[in-house]
């Protein structure tokens, strides 16, 4: 699959001969080039960068010198398992690690909020268990949940996402 190769190439996990083939395909296939640009955009967007000119630079370099994309070190080719996001994830690795490592909530009792009842009853973040079997509640709730104000049905992505994790 071409997208897998592309993703692997972005992860620097594609052997040289395959890489060359991939670059040739990129040169000749506008759809594939669009996909390549999309992968970069995903990474950039996740990092909070404004779609910089990576895609433009790649395009320019493709025109000038295809081999610039060959990996510097040779590693055994491995199968890219999750397509676009494999690439995006590696691009956004720093940002994601940051998000993962940081606790989401500060529940320190010293907060200025009106803590009416036993603040210690709330477990610290690390101990908060993952909720299971809440998909149905989430679906029922999403219709009223405006905070992802893209509007329409976009907030439902939360509950659909949970369905995925529950597998």
């Amino acid at each position: 699959m071409k997208e897998e190769q592309l993703s692997a190439m972005m992860d620097d996990a594609l052997a040289d001969p395959e890489c060359d083939g991939c670059v040739r395909q990129l040169k000749s296939d506008p759809d594939l080039r669009a996909t390549w640009e999309l992968y970069h955009l995903i990474g950039d967007t996740l990092r909070g960068h404004m779609a910089p000119d990576i895609a433009d630079r790649v395009r320019a370099r493709l025109a000038a010198e295809p081999t610039v994309l060959a990996p510097r070190s040779r590693r055994p080719a491995r199968r890219a398992t999750w397509y676009a996001l494999s690439a995006a994830a590696s691009v956004a690795a720093v940002a994601l690690v940051g998000w993962m490592a940081l606790p989401l909530f500060d529940l320190s009792p010293g907060s200025s909020t009106p803590v009416a009842v036993a603040p210690q009853a709330v477990a610290p973040t690390a101990a908060v268990p993952t909720a299971h079997g809440v998909t149905d509640y989430l679906l029922a709730h999403q219709r009223f949940s405006p905070s992802l104000a893209i509007g329409g049905i976009a907030p439902y992505v939360r509950s659909v996402s949970e369905e995925n994790e529950a597998r």
């Binding site: 268990p129 009223f144 104000a149 893209i150 996402s161």
Partner: protein
């Protein structure tokens, strides 16, 4: 679904903001919120966005067409098992092919969230609202709008809207440490132009003969008259609507929606069955959503919302039952 918040903020109109006092936020920023709300109501678009919460990142495609027959939308998960949500006006269908389940939800009326009466000045009491920088996202020049909570009982939000159309291109939810709780960002987006109708039709429609259909069966109901009332809600939160509905396969679940004009929290109340008696209680989390579960008078109470853990717990604790 509607952008309840913005609907609420914007319904008030400019007359509600005589001057930009600190308590009322930046009038220009509030004007932008209004523009975003209008855009989400009237624009047709198609695009791919990433949704990220915690370590999870998912890509979805969304298409929305507004025409004479109303609003048609389709949301499709691009990673993992195919899953789809399709909306035609007030009817929302969720197709879960893995379990061959079709969940159908229907809104009771078509007006913008009727009970949501918070005006923007009230929103500004809870959030400091200001304009941020302009940035380019997914090829669009966007204006950032920042909503900073004035206490720890709600999350902050940052929204990026296309300068030309007001379309929301990116949204971030932030906790009190300014860490991202969840975010939504288009990576590719077409606003307006030619969008094929096929893109808002479910590819599972008509194949559902063997599927299990779950209908929400929402009925307006006065839960207070049944003895359920929320006392001493956290500051800024109030009850906006209540109903009886099905949740999954369980019928007759009481559902109260509480909001501060921006964040919404749902309180579900159902009789304790043997199965429900077993479940865990207390705080848990699903992505950006905090969940708090407790037992009240032989009923299971489940509170869910994209708000800090403290808020779901305070709201759960505010629920009382007085036998009628």
């Amino acid at each position: 679904m509607r952008s309840v918040v913005l609907a609420a903020a914007l319904a008030a109109g400019s007359a509600a903001y005589p001057a930009a006092t600190p308590a009322q936020g930046d009038a220009d920023a509030i004007g932008w919120l209004r523009a975003i709300y209008r855009a989400t109501e009237r624009l047709s678009y198609t695009g791919t966005f990433v949704y990220q919460h915690g370590e999870q990142v998912e890509t979805s495609r969304i298409t929305r067409i507004v025409d004479a027959s109303g609003v048609h939308e389709r949301l499709e998960a691009l990673d993992g098992t195919p899953r789809e949500i399709v909306r035609v006006n007030e009817e929302v269908k969720c197709y879960l092919p893995q379990t061959m389940t079709l969940k159908i939800d229907r809104q009771l009326d078509t007006r913008p969230f009727p009970a949501m009466r918070a005006d923007a000045s009230e929103l500004a009491d809870r959030y400091a609202i200001r304009k941020g920088e302009t940035e380019r996202i997914a090829g669009y020049d966007c204006q950032a709008i920042v909503l900073e909570p004035r206490d720890k009982l709600r999350y902050g939000h940052k929204l990026w809207a296309d300068l030309k159309t007001g379309m929301l291109v990116k949204a971030k939810t932030l906790n009190e440490k300014n860490e991202v709780v969840e975010q939504f960002a288009f990576t590719q987006l077409q606003i307006g132009g030619k969008i094929e109708k096929d893109q808002v039709k479910s590819r599972f429609a008509g194949k559902g003969r063997d599927w299990r259909i779950e209908t929400a069966g929402v009925v307006a109901v006065d839960l207070t008259s049944l003895g359920w009332l929320l006392r001493s809600l956290p500051p800024g939160y109030r009850k906006v609507t209540e109903m009886r509905r099905s949740v999954g396969t369980r019928a007759d679940v009481g559902h109260i929606v509480v909001s501060d004009g921006l964040a919404a929290v749902s309180v579900f109340i159902e009789p304790l069955s043997d199965q429900l008696r077993q479940g865990p209680r207390g705080l848990s989390r699903q992505g950006a959503v905090n969940v708090y579960t407790r037992t009240v008078d032989d009923h299971l109470v489940t509170v869910v919302g994209e708000v800090p853990a403290e808020s779901v717990r305070l709201i759960a604790d505010a629920l009382e039952h007085r036998r009628p």
